[in-house]
Subunit: 523 residues, 2 copies
Amino acid sequence: MISGEIFIGRARQKSAEQFQAINPLTGKELPEIFFAADATHVEQACLLAEASAEAFSATTPDVRADFLDAIADELVNVSEELIARATIETGLPCARLEGECKRTVLQLRHFGALLRDGAWLDATINTALPNRAPLPRPDLRRVNVALGPVAVFGASNFPLAFSVAGGDTASALAAGCPVVFKGHPAHPGTGELVARAILRAMERCEMPNGTFSYLPGPSLALGQALVTNPHVQAAGFTGSRAGGMALMKLANERSVPIPIYAEMSAINPVILFPGALKSRAEELGRAFVASLTMGAGQFCTNPGLILAEAGPDLDRFVAAAAEALDEHPCATMLSPAIYSNYETGVAALSANSAVRLLTRGPDGAGCNQGRSALFSAKADDFVRDPALAHEVFGASALIIEAGHFSEIPSLVEHLEGQLTATLMLDTSDHILAGTLLPLLTRKAGRVLANGWPTGVEVCEAMVHGGPFPATSDGRTTSVGSLAIARFLRPVCYQDMPEGLLPDALKQANPLGIKQQINGKFSD
Amino acid sequence: MISGEIFIGRARQKSAEQFQAINPLTGKELPEIFFAADATHVEQACLLAEASAEAFSATTPDVRADFLDAIADELVNVSEELIARATIETGLPCARLEGECKRTVLQLRHFGALLRDGAWLDATINTALPNRAPLPRPDLRRVNVALGPVAVFGASNFPLAFSVAGGDTASALAAGCPVVFKGHPAHPGTGELVARAILRAMERCEMPNGTFSYLPGPSLALGQALVTNPHVQAAGFTGSRAGGMALMKLANERSVPIPIYAEMSAINPVILFPGALKSRAEELGRAFVASLTMGAGQFCTNPGLILAEAGPDLDRFVAAAAEALDEHPCATMLSPAIYSNYETGVAALSANSAVRLLTRGPDGAGCNQGRSALFSAKADDFVRDPALAHEVFGASALIIEAGHFSEIPSLVEHLEGQLTATLMLDTSDHILAGTLLPLLTRKAGRVLANGWPTGVEVCEAMVHGGPFPATSDGRTTSVGSLAIARFLRPVCYQDMPEGLLPDALKQANPLGIKQQINGKFSD
């Protein structure tokens, strides 16, 4: 059941400003009324988070792991209702949302397992050397601690996996940071159902009341108030470049600056190497379109740029891709705003004299129907016009035709930072690929061979990040184990009596975790 | 031999603008002429660094470890000349500089050992699960890679350990990042001798020519040009709050923002717990003055603030400290500018009606003689006047008298971020200390018991960092093993053929490092 309320911890509030969700397929407002949070609610939620920060960060990793598992259980319990609601709020197909729900649940459990393992604490000990000359060495012990309250912004394109109980929330809670969540106005019902699941888990696990608050609302001022609140110590955001840049600016201008982890924009270049293109142009073309059109192209890792040498093999790729695109039904986009931005982007490319429209996918019934689009341009024109390297969020891609493959490195050099870079290559392409890899490594957070970038695995080795402007901080990832590091800082204790040390650093090692002692790992 | 030249890699240049060092003891210019680098040299050095970045980062960790060891060897070879020059440029005593030189050498070797160990690469592997349902898992492998060229700013107060071959340079080179170094104008001769040592090591180890450049100069514009150069990917700075904040602003306003690691200002609170104060007030008072006056108080970790309950025990502490201060000879400060800032800060405290001057140390012969100063103030006044919490760089400290020890937490709460926080406590104080520790942990990068914060050990567990404004980024340290992490970012390779993977991620593990494979560490 959806009440439309604002949740300051477990306390529910209403407000004067109200809003409704839109079903993007019909373009009509859904009946439920939601109360929009404002600066007052931000202040209350952040105060409460601050008041709970010490107690929440002091819970043992096992207790927090149980809490994350409890959130996962609560999500499973309401998954049917959740998916039904998300379907009408986002236009995403049911099967896709079922997969996303499972992934969200798995992600919570992944951080639970990470917490129990304890390596994330990075417990590092140098024991005292009292007889060292000329000066004795004190006993020094370092451990990671929680940053404090974290603001998390829901993303529209993953209403579950990158929203209320998504990766940012899961990793911040895992780190021991209370979360004040800004709900995305495009899926407020879904958001509330998830928020309620978290709050039930909070109650079941007896977590402090300020551990989680949920502030839905459509206004920019809400997010601004959140990022500038003095109690907030970091923020996680997935969304547009303009939105992320605005938050970065606010965060940097605070009297005490805080880190912003904004995942913003990428066109995820795919390089077709000559050998691969020759041996399997048609197969690549069809697989490309399958990746491009997935979820109406509304993935951060959507392959929006193809780089290849012009010629008959590329023509075969284009023909197969165009054919596949023509056959691929259009899909409802997430919101009228996203649809309108998409159409604006496609129109700008269509109007660009240096760009050739290869084909657009079929139109469909209903509102906000994203018709996929395939363009091509010459390498020289791509380098000349920076607009061609801008992300068009949706199923639009640009194929860049190089006169010769040797021009590709300079095209890659020309690119901004990316979430992913992909190499389609056969064994005969390895030498060529080897010379390009160092450059690709500098440009992207994840470099793929013979796969498509859509699909981000939750595991230890994942990096879902990349140099600016793919993200605001290329040293981090928002998916996978390492995401927890964003909300931690190291603290060193010197000659601290055993009884006063955090458990992770005690000689007795009551948490039973791996400790690095004088450069060697304990068993 | 000192030529005063600018070093763009191994190429030497002169410039129209010249400057000289000042011997702070005599206040007179030293005879050697130095050429000031300008924006043109910045451009050349950064271009060269960028051109060398790929090759330098591709050197194996062992090769870079040998390079760091070679720098250490070259420093040892010139240590006598180095210390003699540093003495006249900084006014620091010879014994102190001998210690600092050894520390600098050890620090280079520490990062060498770290490189050989390989754990810093964080090689993390998830092998493919081709049969997983509903979707197979690709092979995913993550490793840390170098950020690219790094700008490092020399600090005046540690002409060796935090300057040309200091911690920032050592950790950036260890990470595989070329360094463009801005030499501090207060010790240009020392700087050049160290730069020449690095360049000799670079030649001996056949490192790319852009691995290190040395740009001495007194102008702010030089540093600004460096931080805004598009090839520079990160910067390390130790200095004033104003200087660090200016660099942060420039770095954030770039079209591609970069991380700035600025270590800026701290007053390093020391809390005297009742039991300790009762049992050893005099001993604490004397030890406090020894730490306060070390190196004329010109340490980032200088204990500038004492918090304690007013009463006869604190009076004993104050009396012993005042007596020790009266007996402690004054010392030459690093530069006329630092001396003048110190005197301004002391004068401001002296003129503050809420502050009582307890005593000043003796005056001495020569210029720029820093007379230590001890002040006290009431807790209420400390909270009322933010100026009382500002750093006075030098041997000046303020003792805050609380009406009751229970006021101490609110005083700590009132403090900005700190490099260190220290507890002087006996066993009888442990319960009281336990309640205060979580707050101290949020305020400081290093929390000490019964030691003094001056003295920063180079080891695995050290954190020399802390929440803003102690540093610009409380998630990092500028001393110890973890300092290398500032210049690294993670990259994930997906389904990359073995031959194209970085060595650290190869199945064959040619580097012989620890790899985490599917959550378990290899042997």
